[in-house]
Assembly symmetry: C2
Homo-oligomer: 416 residues x 2
């Protein structure tokens, strides 16, 4: 059984520490961010990721029927071999905004295209923030004009961009990988935002990867979809699937060399997957008000879908989440959540471990040291739930966070 | 649009007032309750509903795969024409308790049968409380011996019984109906418990109806299933479907007359449905920590199932629930929750009203007085959401409650 790794006092909300070593930016990319005035707080809210050459680009998007205008724009263009830039704003989701919202995305892409010397179809757009309000276009347009001359590839600009895409996140979320493939150094950089409205059915709130690898468009989409399936599709905060979920991967080939194939492509795919998992975990770890990151390993299922349904039911149960918050080994809430996941298991094919302690085996409760298990939850910021079935070989690893009074406070008064 | 009805200060949790007029007990039924020592609090925790003659009995039960031992017992016996009594305990759910749990239900039924002079198959059992602990059988058996001599049909005994089935509920939940059918007076009495782990997929936490009507077994099951479908299956607190959900309806025919048929049967079915709705609403209204009862009317759907999926997604979204708690007309959370319900609607066929104010029409946001809507939420304990689609004629009325810091406090420390 995996063991909890951190031993910090969880009485204060769980917060990731900032990056100590700033990762470098893949070749041929520039970025930057400004305060465009879209966020009421006046903080950074407009970021640009720009490639000096066309990128093959893969993407995954929300399955929410109320898909945001920028999602509607992007998913018509991706996968693509001609993407030059991504324009990202926080403070306004441009979702549920009707025809005017779509027109505003188009205007944004057209303006960016004119500034970067490309076509509007080479510009992707992503937004996050409040739903149902029209974008303040004059502010966004002024911001675009202001940010373009500042673009570069310094750690400081990466820091600005990674902060500009946040809303209620408390820390920026950045991952990087450097790999040697056939004698060439390839860099991969990812950033994400998200702390609530996290229940991705397809991808999650804004995640962006850029790489200087030379990868074919179909290969890129295949490997990104696989990576997202094992990372951003395996997390939740409260299970509310967003209107704006978007993960993009831009590859500009600036590292040189031929298009990746064979073992090199597999190595690259493996690094993308590992980076996606690292970034995805950061989201529930920074979940609004969260004090525990909860890892749910579901094993022995008939299919991965079945494993996911079981994991999601456990992850999204407020009763499970509050029990972990209270360091309460009330494991009946876990098995009863699995019981309504829609998976036709029998009770005697379920076993459960909590932080490595066996609590329930094949449908029968076990005697255990309740104080010890409670203490292991209380003293660690990571909690591990292992649910083992006897229905097959499929499994999933899923991440969520606990539910606290601070989450309620943060969400009882967000727009007003 | 329905208008909110109450204008109480919601700064304190929403609590139903106690019944002012105690309803009378249908003919031929007795009841009672004692403190058997099952609840750690030492409160009332063992109740009996007894008929002096065999009852036709209908029931609906949880679809949770981890069905409690008493649910497994009851659903093998119902529908039945020979039920004499229901033994109900609170403080222990007897769920996820394996073979020992099933043996304990059987012993309970056998003991009750010996006390009431019937067979074990004529005794139904229901339990609620913590999951995964074995029933303290010596206490339960002593309690059964103690309660039997006290049974009667006074308002005081009804009050005791209705309190003994509660766990974290703050008030007993009792409804009654009296009807004249073909010259005979027929009484119907119902009681329920439930304040959390409420996300019924089939029925909800313990609900019991008794009537002196003479109704055929098949008719009784048909009319109860219909009533539950429109009442207990249309509520949630946090969406966690319990292991113990049970609704029973016992009809002993003591009012006399022939078996109800035709218009009389329809009238009776209509009263049962209305009583189920009244009782079901009391559950989210008494939801743990709740300050608002939220009614969600979903109309214009292609099927009732579609309407239910949409209503449940909205009802169970923590972001919707916290917005209502904060009197925040953040309607984007409502339409985005509908968006992940799995119903393939188009955004331009959705319209939304909140407390009667139009916020979103056919996919386009409307200008509205945000302060006025916020005030209408803040000043009323009932909030109404109307989501109107343009896909067909199916609709549903669903009830839930808001999510508050008090819910977190209550659930972060329940077993320990």
């Amino acid at each position: 059984m995996p063991k909890p790794r951190m031993t910090l006092d969880p009485s204060t909300p769980f917060r990731l520490s900032d990056m100590s070593d700033a990762p470098s930016i893949p070749q041929g990319f520039r970025m930057g961010a400004v305060k465009a005035g879209i966020k009421p707080s006046g903080g950074l809210d407009l970021a640009i990721l720009l490639s000096d050459r066309p990128c093959t680009t893969a993407g995954t998007f929300t399955l929410n029927r109320v898909a945001a205008a920028p999602v509607q724009w992007d998913r018509r263009l991706v996968p693509s071999s001609s993407i030059r830039a991504v324009v990202i704003n926080a403070g306004n989701a441009n979702a549920a905004t009707g025809a005017e919202g779509l027109a505003n995305v188009k205007r944004t892409a057209e303006l960016a295209a004119s500034l970067f010397g490309c076509e509007a179809k080479d510009i992707l757009v992503a937004s996050t923030g409040v739903i149902g309000h029209q974008l303040p276009m004059p502010k966004l347009e002024s911001g675009l004009h202001a940010v373009v001359p500042t673009l570069g590839s310094t750690p400081e600009l990466l820091d600005l961009a990674s902060r500009a895409i946040l809303t209620t996140d408390t820390v920026p979320k950045v991952v990087s990988r450097v790999m040697e493939l056939s004698g060439r150094t390839i860099q991969l950089l990812g950033m994400a935002k998200g702390a609530a409205m996290i229940g991705p059915r397809m991808a999650t709130m804004l995640g962006f990867f850029i790489t200087d690898a030379h990868v074919g468009s179909d290969d890129l989409q295949t490997l990104l979809s696989h990576a997202v399936e094992h990372s951003f599709n395996c997390i939740s905060v409260e299970g509310h699937a967003s209107t704006n979920d978007t993960v993009l991967l831009l590859a500009n080939g600036a590292a040189g060399g031929d298009q990746l194939v064979g073992a090199d492509l597999e190595s690259f795919a493996s690094e993308v997957k590992s980076a996606c998992v690292e970034l995805a975990r950061m989201i529930p770890a920074d979940g609004e008000g969260a004090t525990h990151l909860i890892t749910i390993d579901v094993e022995g299922c008939a299919s991965r879908r079945e494993a996911r349904d079981l994991a999601r039911a456990v992850a999204d149960s407020p009763l499970v989440k509050t029990a972990i918050h209270g360091a309460d080994p009330n494991w009946g809430r876990i098995v009863s959540a699995a019981g309504y996941a829609g998976v036709p298991f029998e009770e005697n094919e379920v076993s459960l471990w909590l932080n490595g302690v066996a609590l329930y085996r094949r449908g029968t409760p076990l005697a255990f040291d309740s104080a010890r298990v409670s203490n292991s939850i209380r003293m660690n910021r990571e909690t591990t739930i292992n649910l083992v079935f006897e229905r097959g070989d499929a499994s999933i690893r899923f991440w969520t966070c606990d539910l606290t009074a601070e989450y309620i406070r943060l969400n009882a008064d967000y727009t007003t």
